[in-house]
Symmetry: C2
Subunit: 366 residues, 2 copies
Amino acid sequence: MRPVIQFQPRPGILDLGWGHPRPELLPVETWARAATRAARHFGGQALTYGYATGPAPLLEWLSAHLNRLEGGGTAPEQTFVTGGASHGLALVTQVLAAPGDTVLVDSPTYHLAFRILADRGVSVAAAPEGLDPASLTTRLRTLRASGHRVPMLYLVPTFGNPTGLSLPDARRAELISVARAESLTIVEDDTYRELCYDGTAPASLWRLAGGAPVVRLGSFAKTVAPGLRLGWINADPAVIGALAALGYVDSGGGVNHSVAMQMAAFGDAGWYDDHLAFVRGQYRAQRDALAGALGVSAPAGGWFLWLPMPAGLLPAAEARGVSFVPGTRFYADGTSGTTRVRLSFSHLSPADLRRAAERLTAAVRP
Amino acid sequence: MRPVIQFQPRPGILDLGWGHPRPELLPVETWARAATRAARHFGGQALTYGYATGPAPLLEWLSAHLNRLEGGGTAPEQTFVTGGASHGLALVTQVLAAPGDTVLVDSPTYHLAFRILADRGVSVAAAPEGLDPASLTTRLRTLRASGHRVPMLYLVPTFGNPTGLSLPDARRAELISVARAESLTIVEDDTYRELCYDGTAPASLWRLAGGAPVVRLGSFAKTVAPGLRLGWINADPAVIGALAALGYVDSGGGVNHSVAMQMAAFGDAGWYDDHLAFVRGQYRAQRDALAGALGVSAPAGGWFLWLPMPAGLLPAAEARGVSFVPGTRFYADGTSGTTRVRLSFSHLSPADLRRAAERLTAAVRP
């Protein structure tokens, strides 16, 4: 059997390694209705070559939605539709960095970002853990003094991958000040903002800075469905213009036009808000099931727990029928994080998460 | 008004410059049915992270379809799903070429390919017009002798853009021999193969070579709808593996999973074959309307006429209410082709094409 999807089950293993949505939460019927609605509302305009930055109906619904969420700060002209946040990172790196450059990344951070950056031919350097402004400035100046061009810093500051935690508000302001003073672009991966379970999410770097020097990556992968391959970049119009001028974006008429038009129909009908409320409740219950069973504190949003665990636990855990991603994967050096693990609560039901927690606890204290 | 689509009408101008489908021919209702069918058949598997090379239902339907069309030659394992042919060219260039390399391109050829290649940081060099094997070998060896790495040659050999013409069969075999002898990869943009109006299309380079040294780019943009941003690459498994290993492809779970699953449903239902038969008849009529009104011979397939015209005709043509793309745009040097123009018959109705032909004739002989 050839594979259909990325997830491959392993017999007997409850796998907390996958940052994937729980299949039952995907909006299968509603998305088919959105396709019908897009056909009725937009006709052939939903299927021909689209406008390079994204079609007006999506740019307008999305910026209004973000402005309701954040109290303003995003115009359609500051928005470019992508094939998801990871595609957004690839595109932003293509226009902001050149092969041979060095890109700073948060420590720890989303592990596949390292490969996306490497594909552009840039070197990846870890920013000081915690992003203390003085240490960050020193790291940046040291790299530059030794001849490295360092155009950007990548991080997931809100309900982050892998930690589930958020950069404190005061640190956000300091980070923007450093970026301004040092001519560094901050690439803010804001994928998890809307998966907030207690209260509200911290203000985005994008909103706090009022645009540059921040570029924000957004995605519909976690709020609606990853298979849609739809997300966006918020950036100042010069960056948006550079993205729209890429040859394959111009040639293709935008990146994912028909899905963008379907999302505009889905959003305009109110189905986005309904679905988000539904998945928030479900993921909150999943989070509570896993964090409760493990007796750890629950992150306020996102999909992950980031926990201290004995180094080298994975084989013993898998022998008990549970798996996870080892912490080392999330550090650019590949060696830090030996006593940390990332547990995802996005993919399994509360009952399975409780069973997984029992197995993990048994592996830690056999 | 913010733009929704790439096409922007110009008052009073019948524009033969746009290589876009005629809006009335887009399968608006059938595509909405395909979305519903994909939801019913595949459920959540249509919406989650997909398999990196593309989902089995599409790879299997597509390779069976290509094998019916070509009498064999394409396996699912030789296929990678892309966001269209131009995205395919960007991806192939990323894995086959490095910044600083030189890429050979046919003369004339698809003009936006120049920008897609330039975005990878490679230089573009024109292959000898007509691709005579001795001249091509000399050009290649001269470039390499002067220190250029030349990994690939790009061309649109079948019902090509801009010419509408096809590379003769004998020249195809010679080209493959040169590529084998000189370790050159041929990137065959095969976008127009199925838009064939008289008899059958010439055998593809991919089929003739039996795989390497050819990489083929295919697309659903012309046969179904460009807004879907869906196409494919045929290549040997080593190239497919390199594509699947790209960070953003792995992170995203394939390039355009949900649309790929919808296309699998569309193909499996027989709607692809029905729609192709329909658009073939329509584009044949459009071709006949334009070629007949201009009194020129009709190309056997594709979307374009490539005609000799007086140099500098565009302003006089636009003053008469007709436009086109000047021939110089399709040459890497930007200066050849002054007495050629590309006329697209894809976008306008037969009646409008006849009117456009009248205006063009009047501009040539005022």
